[in-house]
């Protein structure tokens, strides 16, 4: 491939993919020693630190929960634990997608093209599957007690 790229004319080089001509990929090169470049690297280091700290917090809380065994039959405690980890995970995901994958700096419409289908379809899938398994719990004699004990109307038959 490389040997076809010596003629110098950009139009010849990118005959099959003209997006190279217009998207600016050939133009916005910068100097690695410039202050702009160093500021970008500093930002990446800060994001790395945030990701590491969040992970350390997650692992520490996970170990504390493992040692202390909170009573997760109380639904508020159980949901609180789940919400805590899911929120921290979303924080990490936000930083990875917006800074590392650079989506935060793309155009508004491109962000929408990626994020709207992701949130809508995933949100619906999770809602649908959890509703289905709640129904499965509710109708099953064997697995019947979680939902019912949440509702406070039933205790497991083998307790």
């Amino acid at each position: 491939m490389a040997q076809t790229h010596h003629t110098g004319s950009e139009l010849e080089l990118f005959e099959g993919d003209q997006s190279k001509l217009y998207s600016g990929v050939l133009m916005h090169h910068e100097d690695i020693n410039s202050s702009e470049s160093k500021a970008k690297v500093r930002k990446l280091i800060v994001v790395t630190a945030i990701l590491s700290i969040v992970t350390i917090v997650e692992v520490t809380v996970g170990l504390i929960l493992f040692k202390s065994n909170p009573d997760i039959s109380k639904i508020a405690i159980h949901l609180g634990i789940i919400a805590f980890f899911v929120i921290l995970t979303m924080v990490k995901a936000k930083y990875i997608v917006s800074v590392f994958m650079h989506l935060g700096a793309e155009t508004k419409h491109f962000k929408a093209i990626i994020l709207v289908p992701a949130f809508v379809l995933m949100g619906w899938l999770i809602t649908a599957l959890l509703t289905d398994s709640a129904y499965h719990l509710a109708i099953s004699d064997t697995f019947g007690f979680t939902v019912k004990s949440i509702l406070g109307t039933h205790l497991p038959y083998y307790k």
């Binding site: 490389a2 217009y22 997650e58 599957l129 064997t142 307790k159």
Partner: protein, 251 residues
């Protein structure tokens, strides 16, 4: 004023501008990653539905508690935290490689791609160890599917007896505990296997990108956009692991 705005809008349809200021390949990589994210969401959400549909579920702290070279040390979360850090750090070195490519700094690209490659291979080695360890303790696709061959004594140590209903369920409804264990490992090997397949693909892409950089392919092309595309894929692999880590090992 209004006239010029109309002209500007029309010219986007005539060609000659890039509406998203992105190359074709990068847009397509994003669309692919969106569909791939939906696949992973399907796997993780169905795992969650299965877990929600069982009254008891194996406790990750009791399943994943071993560290290579540390024998019987009971250390939940330690090894997988190490794996997570390796993947986060390899994501950072990847973004530094992309940055170096942006500056047309060939030596920097080679250096950071090599570190990323080392991170990816380390992660895969850790996963191979973990899979082998679980296989040795009897867990695999389709394992724990019959009480005749897998009595309660073969899987009760995967459960946390201080969690609600666990002791009662193991004693009085072993079929349900067996079904939970069966599903837990089926989903575990499928999800981490599919993720590991992505890491393997990423490592292959990194090797190709590294060889092309060394051979000056991108230097002649005038840009390192291919490194950016590989970078997008690699960060996605890291992103998926963030979710696998939470839903498999923390919760």
């Amino acid at each position: 004023m209004a006239q010029s705005a109309t002209n500007k809008k029309l010219s986007a349809w005539r060609g000659g501008v890039s509406p998203f200021s992105l190359g074709y390949g990068k847009v397509m990589m994003w669309i692919f990653l969106l569909t791939d994210a939906l696949t992973f969401c399907g796997l993780l959400a169905s795992m969650g539905a299965s877990r929600f549909g069982h009254d008891v579920w194996p406790d990750p702290n009791h399943v994943f508690h071993s560290v290579p070279f540390f024998g019987s040390w009971n250390a939940p979360l330690v090894f997988v935290s190490f794996m997570t850090f390796v993947l986060i750090l390899s994501s950072v070195t990847m973004v530094l490689a992309v940055h170096a490519g942006h500056c047309k700094n060939k030596a920097g690209v080679i250096k950071w791609l090599t570190w990323t490659l080392i991170g990816g291979v380390t992660f895969l080695s850790c996963q191979a160890w973990e899979w082998t360890h679980l296989y040795m303790s009897g867990a695999w696709w389709g394992s724990f599917n019959d009480l005749a061959t897998s009595p309660v004594s073969s899987f009760e140590h995967f459960f946390n007896p201080s969690k609600p209903y666990v002791t009662a369920a193991l004693a009085q409804d072993p079929e349900m505990a067996l079904s939970a264990t069966h599903n837990f490992f089926n989903y575990f090997f499928t999800v981490t296997g599919f993720h590991g397949l992505h890491v393997t693909t990423g490592v292959i892409l990194l090797v190709i990108g590294l060889l092309n950089t060394i051979n000056n392919t991108y230097e002649h092309r005038g840009h390192y956009e291919m490194i950016e595309k590989i970078g997008l894929y690699w960060h996605f692999v890291d992103l998926v692991w963030v979710f696998v880590f939470t839903f498999y090992y923390l919760l």
